[in-house]
């Protein structure tokens, strides 16, 4: 961007300043119109200006890992939560540790609080487990039509069950059976991994109450029996039971779990050991599947994850339709249990009853990884703005006085030219304000005090651009040129200076934005935004306006109030400079 000679005949060349200006004004009107149309006429304010919600989370020890709550894990948790609530880095949420086992999350007013609470609290332990068996989940579920489809097809509906992962020859396809006894058998058989008999299990007809079933076949293996008992006892419609279903289970354990199928009905599963973990996921996105018209979450795996996924899908895909599913288990719950028809690698998708919001939330959580600890929400309180309304008010007044002084100074020094300066500042201010207001709902941008500071400094940087230009024009006039050539000749040089120096500013903003977190990131964003807008305003507003005004008599004739009076500027009369005719060398940009 610093290349000074590029596109010298671009926007702002003297030929069509009107067109450039018209385009700029249209863009500005469009932005402003968009702002009013979207109804977000004020920027979203950060927690220090508007207050917000403070959530206190307490880390909880998980069984088997007594020393998990340490500084390293807490710091990891903070950075993951920070990324979750502040994904783009501009929402000004604050995440901090408090004491040894608390994390405080401050979210500015106007954020979707419920969503944020889900995002911060979710542990996001993700496992891919083979489905061993599945059944309708509730004691009371009265024949939900959508669930437990009696034909176990290979549809991605998580309602069908699959046999044990090691079942080598699954010959029989499932016979739809409504008998709860069959379910029990299926469990037992599936769990006997050494049992060569292929097991055909079927999803239970929803009419059958799934629990508790006294007819469950007893098993030889006590652990299997215990699991089986747990499975039959489990009532997925009760939240307490759901959360407890597989608490404390290690990834290598065979577990029972609950999940909702596409018909929004609870179902319960027995799942084999985890084959793939959340750490194998490289990136996840919530996207709209155009073919099915539903929201899904796509995941890209890391190198290792790809291999593991190829292996598991290769194994599963050779099995008959009802036995080819794996369950995607998030924090102990089955989010989705898709079937596999071929060996897959590299990426996977989760489909289920997602809305746009839930798909994107899940993708967000998966992308930033699992928390090393489990957290419990301790308190949720509303906090007032750290910067009192009084102070903000006074600050605004002080800022306005400062701006007024700037205007007075510009008018005194530049006279007629200050009109252009003030218009440029105003254009820049309008653009900054509208874009900030639009970015609030757009990417969650929130204006906080550091951002306001960035904007105040931007006044200096924006003003500098046209001060550089004005001084160049005056220099040209001092050379004895008339205004119109002076305006055009001054531009290439001023342009280079503006681009080079703005680039440094932008570099600072970009590096800070990429490296830092939280407030500093928000500040860097504002600085970068205003720097880019500075270039836009100078190129597409200041320069064309200058060109147009140079044609007006008031400026062209060097009226004493135009700020361009050659006499006042001390221009040398052309006569004295006759020798200049012999020095025709052009500067490179001219």
């Amino acid at each position: 961007m610093a290349a000074p000679n590029k596109g010298r005949r671009q926007a702002g060349s003297p030929g069509r300043p009107g067109r450039t200006l018209a385009l700029f004004l249209i863009a500005m009107v469009a932005l402003t119109g968009g702002m009013f149309w979207s109804g977000h006429v004020t920027p979203r304010l950060g927690i220090d200006l508007a207050g917000g919600t403070s959530i206190t989370l307490q880390a909880k020890n998980t069984p088997g890992k007594p020393n998990a709550i340490n500084k390293t894990n807490m710091d990891t948790a903070v950075s993951i939560i920070e990324r979750r609530v502040n994904g783009l880095g501009v929402s000004e949420a604050e995440v901090q540790t408090q004491g040894d086992e608390n994390i405080i999350v401050n979210i500015p007013k106007g954020t979707n609080e419920k969503q944020a609470r889900e995002q911060v609290g979710t542990t996001a332990q993700l496992y891919f487990r083979p489905v061993l068996t599945v059944a309708a989940g509730g004691q009371t579920a009265p024949a939900p039509t959508a669930s437990g489809s009696p034909s176990p097809s290979g549809s991605p509906s998580p309602s069908t069950s699959a046999s044990g992962e090691k079942a080598s020859e699954p010959s029989s396809s499932a016979t739809p059976s409504s008998s709860a006894t069959t379910q029990g058998r299926a469990v037992t058989d599936a769990l006997k991994k050494d049992d060569p008999t292929p097991t055909g299990s079927a999803s239970g007809s929803p009419s059958a109450p799934a629990t508790p079933d006294p007819a469950a076949t007893p098993s030889a293996d006590p652990a299997t029996a215990a699991l089986e008992k747990k499975f039959t006892d489990l009532d997925c419609t009760k939240e307490a039971q759901r959360t407890k279903a597989n608490q404390g289970a290690a990834p290598k354990d065979t577990i029972v779990a609950c999940g909702k199928n596409s018909g929004d009905q609870w179902e319960k599963y027995i799942l084999g050991p985890a084959e793939l973990e959340g750490t194998d996921v490289d990136d996840a996105k919530g996207v709209l599947d155009p073919q099915r018209g539903m929201w899904i979450v796509t995941m890209d795996f890391t190198g290792g994850g790809t291999k593991k996924f190829q292996s598991i899908t290769g194994k599963l895909s050779q099995q008959q339709p009802p036995m080819n599913q794996f369950a995607i288990v998030l924090d102990g719950n089955v989010v989705s249990a898709p079937s596999v028809s071929q060996t897959l690698g590299g990426s996977a998708e989760i489909s289920g009853s997602f809305t746009q919001q839930s798909a994107q939330d899940l993708a967000n959580i998966l992308s930033y990884g699992a928390l090393p600890l489990t957290f419990e929400e301790q308190s949720v309180t509303t906090v007032t703005a750290a910067l009192g309304g009084e102070q903000l008010h006074a600050g605004l007044i002080a800022g306005a006085i400062g701006l007024a002084l700037v205007v007075i100074y510009l008018v005194t020094y530049y006279r007629g030219l200050s009109l252009i300066a003030i218009l440029s500042l105003a254009a820049s201010a309008v653009m900054t304000y509208t874009i900030m207001a639009l970015l609030g709902p757009g990417i969650g941008f929130a204006l906080n005090l550091p951002a306001v500071c960035g904007a105040i400094v931007a006044i200096g940087i924006t003003a500098d651009s046209f001060i550089v230009y004005f001084e160049r024009i005056r220099d040209e006039i001092r050379e004895g040129r008339t205004l119109r050539p002076a305006v055009e000749r001054a531009w290439p040089r001023a342009r280079r200076t503006i681009l080079v120096s703005d680039f440094v500013s932008f570099l600072a903003a970009a590096v800070l934005f990429l490296v830092t977190v939280g407030k500093v990131q928000g500040f860097a964003f504002t600085l970068g935004l205003t720097t880019v807008l500075d270039v836009v305003v100078v190129f597409f507003f200041t320069k064309p306006v200058m060109t147009i005004l140079a044609r007006k008599k008031f400026f062209a004739s060097g009226h004493s109030w135009s700020g361009l009076d050659p006499e006042r500027l001390g221009a040398k009369p052309p006569l004295r400079r006759s020798r200049r005719a012999s020095a025709p060398t052009e500067p490179k940009e001219a």
Binding site: T97, N102, V383, A386, L387, G388, E390, Q391, A394, I397, A398, G402, L403, L405, V406, Y409, Y413, L449, P450, C453, I456, V457, I459, G460, I461, A463, I467, V468, E471, R474, D475, P485, E488, S501, D502, V504, S505, L507, A508, V511, L512, V515, T516, V517, G518, V520, F523, A524, L527, G563, D565, L569, G570, R577, R579, R580, A583, P584, E586, A590
Partner: protein, 371 residues
């Protein structure tokens, strides 16, 4: 304005000007003195780190009849830690207590409610972890480091390595002075301050780059002439952009000054004050250093370059010869100024503009061939 405009013109032509490069030793001295004061202040007084770096609690108490001093005493008694009490505009109090954890904070809150005779539910307690400011500041320093490396590379490519080095020194100079002022004034260092410092980094370099740009243009093809030394051209560059520098600085400083003095006058110490102080000091230092430190440093470094050294010798020889002949080498228009042409004299580059030797960049404005 007419006088200012005329001054601008004379500065532009180099008829008047301050010898920034020639008198650089004075300014280096002043800067070193200020920097040493800043470092001593930092070492002796240390920085008053804010609650975000130490951890603690902020209590916001609604309007109460208890005085600030009384509230401070009560809080310190209740918590056993130092407390900072501020009066808010609505008559309420903002009480900061450092190094408190959750449990202690609840106890202090209850005690405060009793002491200050307000409803406990109306006291808002905001807990701040010590890690927060630290994390933010640490990442900011990382960013600063990476930025400095990148910007040196960029300046070395866009200009040359000497300018990159000089810009970096000027930047460190500005940051040191700002931090030093914080130590001396005793203002609290908050994440806002850190951000103020980062702003300075962007601005200071921005300002330096504008002057360097003019210097680069002025020193183009310098070795092909024997009229001016590099230092003289550097000085001329500063002078010709002086009006711009002053205007830009005034425009940038006015709003910040408004925040600092007017806002500060209304409110006493506060968060806005914290940030605007670091901005004010930093912007002023940034403008100062790009003129008085960065460019003279470039000239210093440049004069060590063999080519430039040789040039200086040639220039001086030529001048000596010209003086011996008692003849103005530069053309009738500027005979009088020619007399003053000594290395490092302010008026020295004056004739450059008028004479326009060999169509050199800023030195000689080319004629308007296009129109």
């Amino acid at each position: 304005m007419s006088r200012l405009g005329a001054l601008g013109a004379r500065l532009y032509r180099g008829e008047v000007g301050y010898d920034f490069v020639g008198k650089r030793k004075i300014w280096y001295g002043i800067s070193i003195l200020i920097t040493i004061t800043a470092i001593v202040g930092l070492a002796v007084r240390g920085l008053n780190m804010g609650i975000e770096f130490k951890g603690g609690a902020v209590f916001t108490v609604p309007s109460t009849s208890v005085s600030v001093a009384q509230a401070q005493e009560d809080t310190e008694k209740a918590s056993g830690h130092d407390a900072i009490v501020q009066q808010l505009g609505n008559g309420g109090l903002r009480i900061q207590v450092t190094e408190l954890d959750t449990k202690q904070a609840d106890a202090v809150k209850t005690q405060l409610a009793e002491d200050l005779k307000v409803d406990e539910a109306k006291i808002n307690a905001d807990l701040v972890g010590p890690s927060w400011g630290e994390t933010i500041a640490n990442k900011a320093w990382t960013g600063l480091g990476i930025f400095m490396i990148l910007v040196v590379i960029y300046l070395a490519i866009a200009f040359e390595w000497r300018m990159a080095v000089a810009a970096l020194i000027a930047l460190i100079h500005d940051l040191t002075i700002t931090v030093g002022v914080y130590a001396l004034v005793g203002f609290e260092v908050t994440p806002g301050t850190v951000i103020g410092l980062l702003t300075i980094l962007g601005y200071s370099l921005y300002d330096t780059v504008v002057v360097f740009d003019s210097l680069k243009e002025g020193s183009k093809d310098i070795t092909k002439q024997t009229r001016w030394t590099y230092s003289e051209i550097a000085n001329r560059s500063i002078n010709s952009t002086l009006v711009r520098s002053i205007n830009t600085t005034v425009v940038a400083l006015l709003p910040v000054a408004g925040l600092l003095f007017i806002g500060g006058g209304f409110l006493g110490a506060g968060m806005l004050n914290d940030i605007s102080l670091s901005l004010f000091v930093g912007l002023a230092a940034g403008a100062y250093s790009s003129i008085f430190i960065a460019t003279p440093l470039v000239a210093d470094l440049k004069e060590r370059d063999p080519q430039i050294k040789a040039l200086k010798k040639r220039v001086l020889n030529k001048r000596a010869a010209a003086a011996a002949k008692g003849e103005a080498a530069d053309g009738p228009a500027d005979t009088d100024t020619e007399e003053d042409t000594e290395p490092g004299e302010a008026a020295a580059p004056a004739a450059a503009a008028a004479a326009g030797p060999r169509g050199r960049g800023a030195g000689g404005r080319p004629s308007g061939r296009r129109r």
